[in-house]
């Protein structure tokens, strides 16, 4: 899987000569990855303090092999839309959590890489009607060593597969939690986030201290 090269630009100037902003909340982030229509925006909306924003970014990437067959040499630029939501907590520490909902196709892997850097982990939101759409996200997060869980959004009328079947279909190791959720329901989504945090905590105690994404 190709990894993007870092952008060549100056680091943003930090404020200097001021006392530390210890009163400002620390920022944490979680990535929500899933296929089109699986309920990412709904999930973000369930806990966000703002109406989820759809933000566009250009991605430049090498042309797909099919383009090369037609002699197209230029790189493709595609537009990817992703969701953003956030909420703040005061207790026990002032914290702000950013939620990024990102499409599940492997051509957006650059975006996943960007969003995964420094993230708590990822929720792979899955739809049992199209489980295969989650496969790329699962293997990506596995590869970079980012803690992740699989949350199956229970659509009305969708066939309810046993957890073991989902695990099998996604080739998930036993340590990765699989749970069912309703992306419309705030407490259900909060439960998903809690599960991911637990997963990150248990993985943090077992993984080496200085794992970086580049090592993956």
């Amino acid at each position: 899987m190709p990894f993007p090269t870092p952008r060549q630009a100056d680091p943003a100037p930090f404020s200097r000569g001021r006392e530390a902003d210890t009163d400002k909340p620390a920022i944490l982030k979680i990535v929500i990855a899933g296929g089109f229509g699986v309920g990412k925006t709904t999930l973000v909306r369930a806990v966000s303090e703002i109406e989820p924003l759809t933000t566009e970014e250009y991605l430049t990437q090498a042309s797909a092999p099919t383009d090369k067959l037609h002699g197209v040499e230029a790189k493709d630029t595609t537009t990817v839309a992703f969701d953003f939501g956030r909420f703040s907590l005061d207790m026990p520490l002032p914290l702000e959590l950013f939620l990024f909902g990102t499409p599940g196709q492997d051509r957006f892997v650059d975006l996943w890489y960007d969003l995964s850097h420094g993230a708590i982990g990822a929720v792979v939101l899955a739809d049992t009607r199209r489980l295969e759409a989650s496969f790329t996200a699962v293997s990506f997060f596995e590869r970079i060593g980012l803690p992740f869980i699989v949350a199956v959004n229970q659509f009305d009328g969708a066939h309810r597969y046993p957890e073991a079947d989902i695990r099998d279909a996604l080739d998930l190791p036993a340590v990765i939690p699989v749970l069912f959720c309703d992306a419309r329901v705030t407490t259900s989504v909060a439960g998903v986030l809690l599960t991911l945090i637990d997963q990150a905590l248990s993985q943090a105690s077992t993984r080496p201290a200085h794992t970086t994404l580049q090592d993956a």
Binding site: P6, Q8, A9, D10, P11, A12, P13, F14, S15, R16, A20, D21, K24, I27, L28, K29, L53, T55, E56, E57, Y58, T60, A74, K75, D76, T77, T78, T79, F84, R86, L89, M91, P92, L93, L95, L97, F98, F100, L115, H117, G118, A119, I120, P177, V178, L179, T186, T187, A190, G191, V192, L194, T195, I197, Q199, A200, L201, A204, S205, T211
Partner: protein
């Protein structure tokens, strides 16, 4: 390499509104690369400077949004309805004008979150939504 990008901007918006293509190009004065590295989750707050008169109205809006609270690059782009690549360039101009700055210590998450922060987030979530349960044990 740079010569490719004006076309790239156009290509990316080919399916979109033509005026937004032109606007994005005008906003950045044809530039395609931001001066500063800004992550999608970098947050900005206002600084002592003001956006220069030559800067577009979108810059005034960015400063005004950051006056209310610090905001991430993604939130600013989403609120303005402009692509992140364009907004990064505008933010770079505002950083140069000292109208914006990156908060001294509370930068975007750049390292893996500490155990202490994870535990605090978990406790905070449980306090906010007491009915929410982690499924980790159930699996």
């Amino acid at each position: 390499m740079n010569s490719r990008h004006p076309q790239a901007f156009l290509a990316a918006d080919a399916a979109g509104d033509e005026s937004s293509v032109v606007r994005n190009y005008t906003l950045t004065a044809g530039r395609t690369r931001p001066r500063y590295t800004l992550s999608l989750d970098s947050v900005l707050e206002t600084g002592p400077g003001r956006p220069g008169p030559a800067l577009p109205e979108e810059c005034v809006r960015i400063v005004s949004l950051c006056q209310q609270r610090r905001r991430s690059v993604t939130e600013l782009a989403g609120t303005l309805g402009r692509p992140v690549s364009v907004v990064r360039i505008l933010i770079s101009d505002l950083l140069d004008a000292h109208a914006l700055r990156v908060p001294a210590t509370t930068t975007a998450p750049s390292a893996d979150p500490t155990r202490q922060l994870l535990e605090a987030l978990s406790a905070g979530l449980k306090a906010r939504w007491p009915d929410a349960v982690s499924y980790a044990q159930a699996g």
